[in-house]
Symmetry: C2
Subunit: 205 residues, 2 copies
């Protein structure tokens, strides 16, 4: 058995190769996962495999907010109890789910699909920015809330969107930046702490 | 949108549910992996899914050593340059791969498929122990090397196999236990250090 031919089976090797393409899964983890599947009911593995194939082939995106959806207009956009005058701009699905979890927001969303990142070759045309502008220009939106990550890429994207929207008359706001709940002040970085001081608000109970 | 209905798509939710059944993959990791797949070429995802299904349906085990194999007798067992008089008993495929990596062993293997663990409901009959005994009784094996993990379950399994083989006349050995390469002595646990002292060997260069 040569040194390079380390897997005892090409089927096993193929499955490990495929699994280890996924982010955060190295070859050892992939092998562990694949060997676990061999101890599972084969029908369960088929169900897992089928669900992945089905997702990538049948996934749809909401025509309004571009979030992942099973139908043409997602449940949030179709909900008449939500405030259609507010649009919260987020990077991805996880951000929508995180904001929904807070139960503090009753408006709609706009999922960009990323942020502007020249290093990764992602420009405004790769994101759902034009569709956001058209959505605002179509009328009915009073406020656009920018809720991107407070990174350089997020800030760049915020600025780009702000410039594109500034002539439309819509209010553009950005989520508050400051010290996070339960963070210890002494370990908070200076940019965050500086912003938290500048952005101070009247004390209320 | 109710609190429980947190995924924006049932296809997405189904894929996340299936992925998060795998060991060490929580719901957040599963979501991250599944969303990554949505950015992959769908053919690559089909290839991943297909390789998993194919593996669990078409996997074979070597009829001699019970390691995963594409053919009836695996490449190691079929290799006439290897010493068929030595059989190294290991728990699983990964252990075979780890020993092969050392390039220090030219004998054959016997893959038990686990260790005796009453807590997990795994007894001798759930493992390839009877086939090991029959393999030794069939003749040709001179030494059985026990290379199980140095845990209570591994020790129990070693003892069980030793008792079963003691009347066959085959030599039963166990891999050396001692301090690991590059371990700092002061941080080595007392059982390991005690065994390393008891198992000392004449100094040689």
């Amino acid at each position: 058995m040569s040194f390079s031919q380390q897997y005892p089976s090409t089927l096993l090797q193929h499955a490990v190769n495929e699994m280890s393409r996924l982010p955060g899964i190295g070859r050892k983890s992939a092998l562990r996962l694949v060997l676990h599947m061999l101890r599972m009911d084969p029908n369960q593995v088929d169900s897992l495999a089928g669900s992945l194939s089905q997702l990538v082939h049948e996934v749809r995106y909401c025509r309004v907010c571009h979030n992942i959806s099973d139908v043409e207009t997602c449940a949030i956009c179709a909900d008449s109890h939500r405030d259609a005058g507010m649009v919260c701009v987020v990077e991805n699905v996880q951000d929508v789910m995180a904001i929904e979890q807070t139960q503090q927001y009753r408006g709609l969303y706009h999922v960009l699909g990323g942020v502007i990142s020249p290093m990764d070759g992602i420009g405004p045309s790769n994101l759902e920015i034009q569709s956001l502008i058209e959505r605002v220009q179509a009328g009915g939106v009073k406020e656009v809330i920018l809720a991107l990550s407070p990174t350089m890429e997020g800030d760049t994207t915020n600025f780009y969107i702000y410039r594109k929207l500034q002539d439309t008359g819509v209010a553009v706001t950005v989520i508050a930046r400051g010290v996070a709940q339960n963070d210890e002040l002494q370990y908070t970085d200076e940019v965050t702490l500086g912003r938290a001081l500048l952005g101070r608000t009247p004390y209320s109970t």
